[in-house]
């Protein structure tokens, strides 16, 4: 019953808002280049379907590659930090600097260094920089959160550092890591969009570029269609990662348990 309401109530709100939107646009005869109604947006979506899907594929590709790269790099760096306090103390400040510097400000440099002939690689690098930090932070905290007594116990049975890492530290870190990955998934998409914006005309071919282009041509309905696709992609990434989190933690972690 509650699950049904969870689905129906937001849908009802959507129908209400879209209806009111359409009604208002028709009633006041708002020009389509200022605010198109939902029906006009749907038409623009249908008309540009294949080109929008190409753009989505491009942005999604960059996002996923960046997310994957950030995950692998974040986990490896966190593991290195957990094995050496010295390394962590030396390098963590730089990770923070990378995090707090706005990516829009670094993006032109990266585009120049990587070169516009490798535009995709440049976009992936920019998006990965944005997604990297939450994964590093989550994994680092998680690896440190292991029960000291459990580690002592393992040492009592002659466990090596590798065994302690694999059998105790990494499983302990999993919930923290997944939480970081959920944040990073959304950030990778934002990073991909920002990178496309900076890359500008003629090179990028993703959804962000379609938004810029549609805006320049005053094709506001197409702009809305691309925007809606972006939002849905973001929701989908979040949902997929939430599902992964639930599936991995369902047997044991408080966050994934349903109470009777």
């Amino acid at each position: 019953m509650r699950r049904l309401a969870d689905i129906l109530l937001p849908l009802a709100v959507a129908a209400l808002v879209l209806g009111a939107w359409e009604g208002a646009v028709t009633h006041w005869q708002v020009p389509v280049y200022v605010l198109p109604g939902p029906s006009a947006i749907a038409r623009a979506f249908a008309d540009n379907f294949s080109s929008l899907m190409d753009a989505l594929a491009s942005t999604l590709g960059v996002t996923l590659e960046a997310f994957l790269a950030a995950t692998v790099l974040g986990i490896t760096t966190a593991i290195a930090f957990s094995q050496s306090r010295l390394l962590e103390r030396t390098l963590y400040p730089y990770a923070v600097i990378l995090q707090v510097t706005p990516v829009v400000a670094i993006a032109p440099l990266i585009l120049i260094w990587v070169g516009f002939e490798h535009i995709n690689l440049a976009l992936v690098i920019i998006a990965a920089i944005v997604a990297f930090f939450p994964i590093l932070a989550g994994a680092t905290l998680g690896l440190k959160s292991a029960d000291f007594n459990l580690i002592d116990l393992a040492r009592l049975y002659g466990a090596s550092r590798t065994q302690i890492l694999w059998r105790i530290r990494l499983p302990t870190a999993l919930p923290y890591l997944l939480s970081g990955m959920k944040t990073a998934g959304g950030l990778a998409l934002i990073g991909a969009v920002v990178a496309e914006f900076v890359a500008g005309s003629g090179t990028a071919s993703g959804l962000a570029w379609r938004i810029v282009e549609s805006g320049n041509r005053l094709e506001i309905a197409t702009l809305f269609a691309a925007l809606a696709l972006l939002a849905m992609t973001g929701v989908l990434i979040f949902a997929a990662l939430s599902l992964l989190e639930w599936w991995l933690l369902r047997r044991w972690h408080e966050s994934a348990l349903s109470r009777p």
């Binding site: 459990l150 002592d152 116990l153 009592l156 049975y157 059998r167 499983p171 044991w252």
Partner: protein, 240 residues
């Protein structure tokens, strides 16, 4: 089995936990280490296990370092896996083949009364059952020396008594040597053969009491007499 000689330990924050702590535990003995909270009992146990190094003095194992089983005050289980995998941990760390490890861990669980709970996750078990998994994990490695750090302190009295009886049975069946840290006079009076009463911090042994025989249950006159002996020694140690 184990001998501590003139052991001292000071922590990084300057707290002097132990000073001139000496005692021995013979093969097959059940010895309680009893004292007020903060007297360094747990530190002494960690020194005995080799998890800490003493600042002065020696921890010696005259017949070589035995296989040690350790049980903490908290169950200290891995929440992400089931009871069997938890009990199997020491064997996995020692690269015992998977099948043999499973059999031995399952056997250890059965011995602590958890047959049928092999696939249960810690969160599905009660506090007493979690402690039993912890005990099974210690037994799975077939230890000669079992070190217990107030293992029953967080449990209710009924569970505590049941686990105490199980511990006595395991000690007799396996010919274990047990060093049992506690702050409970009644627990030590019933379970152990010898009680080492410790002074407040910095801890050392104030009195080494050999308890009378015939303590067949928790209320037998001999047990009550043992409690009186331990309480007297504890009061003297606290006053000194």
């Amino acid at each position: 089995m184990i001998a501590l000689q003139g052991v001292a330990k000071r922590f990084a924050n300057g707290t002097e936990a132990l000073r001139d702590l000496s005692f021995q535990v013979a093969d097959g003995e059940f010895v309680s280490l009893l004292g007020p909270s903060g007297c360094g009992k747990s530190t002494a146990l960690r020194l005995a296990a080799g998890l800490l190094e003493p600042d002065a003095g020696h921890v010696a194992y005259p017949q070589g370092k035995p296989q040690i089983g350790f049980v903490f005050q908290e169950p200290t289980l891995m929440p992400w896996t089931d009871a069997l995998a938890n009990a199997r941990l020491p064997l996995d760390l020692k690269h015992v083949p998977r099948n043999e490890a499973e059999d031995r861990a399952a056997g250890a669980l059965a011995r602590v009364g958890l047959k049928g709970f092999e696939r249960a996750y810690p969160r599905e078990l009660s506090g007493g059952m979690k402690m039993r998994v912890s005990l099974a994990r210690a037994l799975a490695a077939e230890p000669k020396l079992l070190l217990l750090d107030e293992p029953f302190a967080a449990l209710d009295e009924i569970t505590r008594n049941a686990l105490g009886n199980d511990l006595l049975r395991l000690w007799r069946e396996d010919g274990l040597t047990v060093l049992f840290v506690t702050h409970s006079v009644s627990e030590s009076s019933y379970l152990s053969q010898r009680v080492l009463v410790m002074t407040p911090r910095p801890g050392r042994v104030a009195k080494d009491i050999i308890l009378p025989l015939g303590r067949d249950n928790r209320l037998s006159p001999q047990t009550i007499e043992a409690q009186r002996m331990i309480s007297d020694a504890l009061n003297t140690a606290m006053a000194a």
